[in-house]
């Protein structure tokens, strides 16, 4: 469903608060859509717009060229809260291709990876470093599961092997499930 992602080279935007929940990433009032397109304008809406709905332009999320800043570095436990896949849809539509944190909530991580949004958990030292120096250029290599900075700083990260396979090859996990339909039928027959 998505293009293969082998590596991402881009600059970072930092959002240091911990526990950034999916209600922050996209407030519930934007969930009445029946489409997955165009949610980027609602991303972090209440952080970016004032009560009159005007862009505040004082958040780290505005006033830059999105093509240059495709990596979001966020505080620990990013993406906690609801299971809304609208959160990674909104981030991807906003222009992000990767999210880095020391901890990323389970459902968000799973949702993100299914949409080609790389969710990377790094060690606390690397995390601190990235939060403290926003705007750095980071190279995330999916194949080798490494992250590198200009000055030679390196970190490795874990990536669920199947998610990695899907990212590298642009494979849709649904295809994998559909290919097992004989086993699924056998399972159903056994239990009937």
């Amino acid at each position: 469903m998505f293009n293969p992602t082998r590596s991402i080279v881009s600059r970072t935007i930092a959002l240091p608060p911990e526990n950034i929940d999916t209600d922050q990433i996209i407030p519930a009032r934007f969930l009445t859509t029946t489409s997955r397109e165009g949610l980027g304008k609602s991303a972090f809406f209440d952080w970016r717009y004032n009560a009159e709905g005007r862009l505040r332009n004082d958040s780290p999320l505005d006033g830059f060229n999105p093509d240059e800043f495709q990596i979001l570095v966020a505080g620990a436990n990013f993406g906690c809260g609801s299971s809304r896949e609208h959160a990674p849809w909104a981030l991807a539509d906003f222009g992000f291709r990767a999210v880095i944190s020391s901890q990323i909530a389970d459902i968000f991580k799973s949702n993100a990876l299914k949409n080609g949004l790389l969710a990377v958990e790094v060690d606390p030292k690397t995390h601190r470093r990235l939060l403290q120096s926003p705007g750095e250029t980071v190279v995330i290599d999916v194949e080798s599961q490494t992250l590198a900075l200009d000055d030679g700083w390196q970190a490795v990260f874990e990536l669920e092997p199947f998610a990695r396979h899907c990212l590298l090859n642009g494979v849709d996990p649904l295809g994998h499930l559909l290919a097992q339909s004989a086993d699924i039928s056998a399972f159903e027959a056994r239990r009937a």
Partner: protein, 481 residues
């Protein structure tokens, strides 16, 4: 199967539930393929999943194992005189319409707006006996862990995964680590499952359960009613755990017996024999184990913007433990070292899949009976389902709430997620029986304090955060069904 029956190592409830549903084992390269027995869907997280099916020209594999309801975007005010509903936006109405169409097209049973069985997805599953011990249950909603109260393997999924289940009735999932949370002792009067949940989350943190499946056990859990058990499992995700579960027992079986979709008389004994095996074997291994004594627990309230910022109502508001809590305290305008009873309340919400069942409404009514909601405070009581609404009205609970000056609404998620138009105004402080105190969750700029129904009701009366214990005369029954 043979390796399973020959195996001598003790297996936990979670192991047993997991093993029963493995279509293909997990390998290093691929997650397990798990079969799903019950798929619950609602209007918010399903339209894009149905669209994905259409794009690929796929049919649903098992519409018969799928049930839909309308809860998140639906108005809680009754229809207008012309019969139309007051949707928050045209988009919300369109979303409801979309689910109706998708269900018609794919042959899914929809408990729609006119159905007397409609309600919040996690309230109606158990209520209709769809939720049963031993089942795998998924829903595009993170509070699906609620159904784990019946010894089911129940978890929230994203919309892409909803599409996977629509198409294949299966899901790709790696087995999480296991945690047991043992609650010892007996709950004091006026302290509830909600308070147990908040105490646990305060102890292990909003990410303490991340990557784990939690089994709740111990005498205080066994003593909970089924409704209390649902409240506890419901809140698992607020500790970061996708799965929360409790071994089924005689109370569980009795509760389910005779419900519409529960096994009928012809299959009941066989079901019981099977369900009784769904216990963690003695000596089962858990990756992490936690014990919490509830005998000295007080009603709990939150003071920050993450559910782990919870404290006993009779303590002083705690000092922030981190930068995040500091920002939370700023947003909440709750300074450290204050009495909770000094914090003024603008609005009270009693509802949500956490606390909108009959026993919750009874607890709130017990506090409100013969009393008045404080002038200037708005109190909203929203039953979890049409069935809860009828049962509450049969006991005249609606009259208790109305006489106190609270509003009595139609069932739905309402102010828990504030996407149907029910919401607070910027700056307001809301004491809420729901599950999330995130910034803006109940409306932009709204400050949410999570609490039990009794605490919420007491706060409505006093117009300040209030300890409900002084209003409860009789010993609270914890084991009534």
């Amino acid at each position: 199967m043979t390796s399973e029956s020959n195996s001598v190592s003790p297996r936990s409830l979670f192991d047993k539930l997991w093993e029963r549903h493995v279509v293909a084992e997990e390998t290093r390269e691929t997650p397990a393929v798990l079969y799903i027995d019950l798929h619950l869907i609602h209007e918010v997280t399903s339209p894009q999943a149905f669209a994905a099916l259409d794009e690929r020209k796929l049919e649903m594999r098992r519409p018969d194992l799928t049930i839909a309801t309308l809860d998140h975007s639906t108005p809680t005010l009754p229809p207008k005189p012309d019969g139309s509903l007051d949707y928050a936006t045209a988009e919300a109405a369109a979303q409801v319409e979309k689910l109706i169409l998708n269900c018609e097209r794919h042959g899914v049973q929809l408990l729609g707006l006119d159905d007397p069985r409609r309600g919040i997805v996690h309230v109606i599953g158990p209520e209709l006996g769809l939720t049963q011990p031993g089942k795998t249950i998924v829903c595009g909603d993170s509070h699906t862990s609620t159904h784990g109260a019946f010894g089911a393997l129940a978890f929230g999924i994203g919309t892409t995964e909803v599409g996977h289940v629509l198409a294949t009735q299966c899901i790709l999932q790696r087995k999480p680590k296991s945690m047991r949370v043992v609650f010892d002792g007996a709950l004091p009067r006026g302290v509830t499952a909600k308070d147990m949940a908040l105490a646990m989350i305060a102890e292990i943190g909003a990410d303490g359960g991340r990557g784990f499946a939690i089994e709740f056990a111990g005498p205080a859990v066994e003593a909970l009613s089924m409704e209390g058990r649902m409240t506890l499992c419901n809140m698992s995700i607020e500790a970061g755990a996708r799965f929360g579960m409790i071994a089924p027992d005689e109370m569980t079986f009795k509760w389910l017996h005779g419900r519409e979709f529960a096994p009928g008389e012809d299959r009941w004994q066989a079901a019981l024999a099977d369900w009784r095996t769904l216990q963690s074997d003695p000596g089962s291994d858990f990756d992490r184990e936690i014990r919490i004594d509830v005998s000295s627990l007080s009603p709990m309230v939150t003071y920050g913007v993450s559910p782990d910022a919870a404290a006993p109502i009779d303590a002083l508001t705690p000092a922030p433990r981190s930068d995040a809590e500091e920002r939370g305290a700023d947003y909440m305008e709750i300074a450290a070292g204050k009495a909770f009873s000094d914090i003024a309340v603008n609005r009270v919400f009693i509802g949500s899949c956490t606390n909108s069942r009959l026993s919750d409404l009874r607890a709130a009514a017990e506090v409100m009976r013969g009393r008045k909601v404080k002038a200037g405070v708005t109190a909203l009581v929203v039953p979890g389902s049409e069935a809860v609404k009828r049962a509450a009205e049969a006991e005249n609970l609606d009259k208790v709430f109305l006489a106190a000056g609270a509003e009595w609404r139609e069932p739905g998620c309402s102010m828990c997620i504030a996407m149907n138009g029910d919401k607070g105004a910027p700056g307001e402080l809301v004491v809420s029986t729901s599950n999330r105190n995130f910034i803006g969750r109940q409306g932009k700029g709204v400050r949410t304090v999570l609490a039990s129904p009794a605490t919420a009701a007491a706060s409505a009366i006093e117009g300040r955060i209030a300890d409900p214990r002084k209003y409860l005369e009789a010993v609270m029954e914890t084991a009534s069904v």
